[in-house]
Symmetry: C2
Subunit: 456 residues, 2 copies
Amino acid sequence: MSVDAILTRIDQELPAATERLLELLRIKSISTDPAFKADCDAAADWLVANLQEFGVEAEKRQTPGHPMVVGHVGDGGPHLLFYGHYDVQPVDPLNLWDRDPFDPQVEDTPAGQVIRGRGASDDKGQLMTFIEALRAWKAVKGDWPCRITFFLEGEEESGSPSLVPFMKENAEELKTDLALICDTGLFESRTPAIVTMLRGLLGEELTITAPDKDLHSGMYGGIAINPIRVLSRIVASLHDDQGHITVPEFYDGVQELPDEIEAQWQGLAFDHAGFLGDVGLSTPAGEQDRMPIEMIWSRPTCDVNGIWGGYNGDGFKTVLPSMAHAKISFRLVAGQDPHAIRASFRAMVEGMLPPDCTATWKDHGASSASSAATDAPAFDAARRALSEEWGIPAAYVGCGGSIPIAGHFQKILGTEPMLVGFGKDNDQIHSPNEKYDMESFHKGIRSWARILDAIT
Amino acid sequence: MSVDAILTRIDQELPAATERLLELLRIKSISTDPAFKADCDAAADWLVANLQEFGVEAEKRQTPGHPMVVGHVGDGGPHLLFYGHYDVQPVDPLNLWDRDPFDPQVEDTPAGQVIRGRGASDDKGQLMTFIEALRAWKAVKGDWPCRITFFLEGEEESGSPSLVPFMKENAEELKTDLALICDTGLFESRTPAIVTMLRGLLGEELTITAPDKDLHSGMYGGIAINPIRVLSRIVASLHDDQGHITVPEFYDGVQELPDEIEAQWQGLAFDHAGFLGDVGLSTPAGEQDRMPIEMIWSRPTCDVNGIWGGYNGDGFKTVLPSMAHAKISFRLVAGQDPHAIRASFRAMVEGMLPPDCTATWKDHGASSASSAATDAPAFDAARRALSEEWGIPAAYVGCGGSIPIAGHFQKILGTEPMLVGFGKDNDQIHSPNEKYDMESFHKGIRSWARILDAIT
């Protein structure tokens, strides 16, 4: 029996699979906000029940944060692990959503059907592609393709504080031949892709304190130092006029792109005008001496993800605030040491402080960049399976985002990660009106069936 | 009958006067936030009833915003106007208050009794000093010292949008020989003062828009321009390394301090170390080539009163936001044209925008600086009365804050303003834990009785 019967079953089951995904999307599993703790727990319970329904021995495993969902099936053949995360990003600004982010629905759009709601693409829709593929496989074949371990996390959007301790404590259980990770996208929304270069992430929260209380800018303006002015100067100095990052020793260890990769990337003919045009931009704003595709895949970056201080309500308040804050992140590439960069960044900021100002810090995690060992045979098998499903040759690509789990599999478990996903550039993940194309969901499920068939 | 009988009456009435002030402080008349519209209305009603109680013909007069309270008494002698405002600042950050800001009370402190609550000093406590003085005068003498018009506003903390139209429409009613304004403080918390130089205020809200939606910094970081980076660069460039403001033509028309005023201010021996030390600072942060007292009284300044963009909740969100915002104000001195400076500032910002970024503006008001005609005999009489009450020679001083009403009296009504108030530097107006010293309240009431006696 070929994989065709499973693919047919997947086509027939699509409406039921969509209903199951909508159920999961209704659960408000925002991991970064403690107000949604019970919802994260409910999402884990839902996944356990869903997996058990078609025979997976799944259970919820407590951590100091949100629970993990772990499950096992099969016993012969290679031992695969599947990773996804059930937590989602916050939904603010809520007023920019066209619908309740947790009342998902299938919408008809000029570009085809989409599943709209927070987490539809990142990562609930993606993780369900694998689960649905395995459900169909079991229904058609009555058995499993090989030994498979599920490992589903609930803290990916909040720095995964429990992940490494859990992996270390359960290393024997989670150590497998290959880890399949579904949290990435197609290349330019059409070419199937296996991500083989991932950036690391360093997150910092900086608070500048100047006067010890909020002041009246009429009484103190002009003589008292304003922490917003100090913070702005620091933020403004993070990039030079050419878009390079100014943190001392920041680029130490960063490698130039190998010639063959550079040639392959030039061959992809990345449409940066279209990529930027989708979000109302036209001009690449990164290092001016780099190709646009390098800016997003292989070069380290720095962004301010949040800034706040003083009065931001309606009207005007002539306050000279005591404090100003920023959340700042660095995307790191192979060769960069997150801990050395953290130290250098903090020292640079401390050195810029005028008299009477102090800097305090909140550590929001640090992960190194990673790259996959694409010479393993499974990579080639998966690439052929993806090419067949999508009718376009699959590509090995880089990824601007950070998926620290990939590095953890390598370092903690010695397991090679393979990152395959079906998101599109316009999915608006982390933004209002997040969606997942029905095509991504449907062909995603089919892709996993083909990959499982190819590598087992 | 000398003024002594009135002063005695004031001393006896202090507990009752304090109770009346506490009643007014319980009304949440935050003018800048539309949620408190009914409270502003209630504060106006309270004042009308309070004035009527001792014989003032007072009424609430509607405006497109919050109402004015206008009242009249007497008919002989000079015609005085008394101005104060019943609206207060917002109370955030609420968690830094030691008590509910609208549940005021009298507290015993090592430095004496204080009346604690939002508006205690700015400006409900201050405006009640005049009302209580007149109430005592009437009780003791059975008549009024002269013709007096009350003019109490409810929009001072939100840019006074209705003030100028109301003054123009009611110019005949409000035109008087002298306008007494009670919204300023003692000099260094001990020397009675008449403010004769007031800075103007220009308020702007700037929004930088870069991508047309919030983005994932992993996907777009390094290639998409971040509006927080753009805004920070603008804010950082507003001052040079010497603390001068860089807006082109900003200092056009600014006069050097006259020699005699400079000498008088040097004589005041302003304790800038103590002034800054009270708020946890030590180093004057303004123009490095100016005396500290010039920085706060006679030089124009620029402050960012609020900045926000991206994610500011718990945890971390790797968002690359679409927009970043700042509320920016300029304090202006005599000779500066607020409208020319607004145009120059906006042009400077527009000129700094990188490709794909736009700036949008919200106008939060503009007022010129003003200075009083201190050669009018009433000024000398008031200075003598204040010196007598406080036992320290009263001073003519500058004021960093902006009280646009002073300029409006001069320009619209041709009425000379006289600014007398009893606030202290540590009153924490516009901040958490605002208070008004019982000494300010008590001697403030007595001061007005003496001033009325001296100038009528």
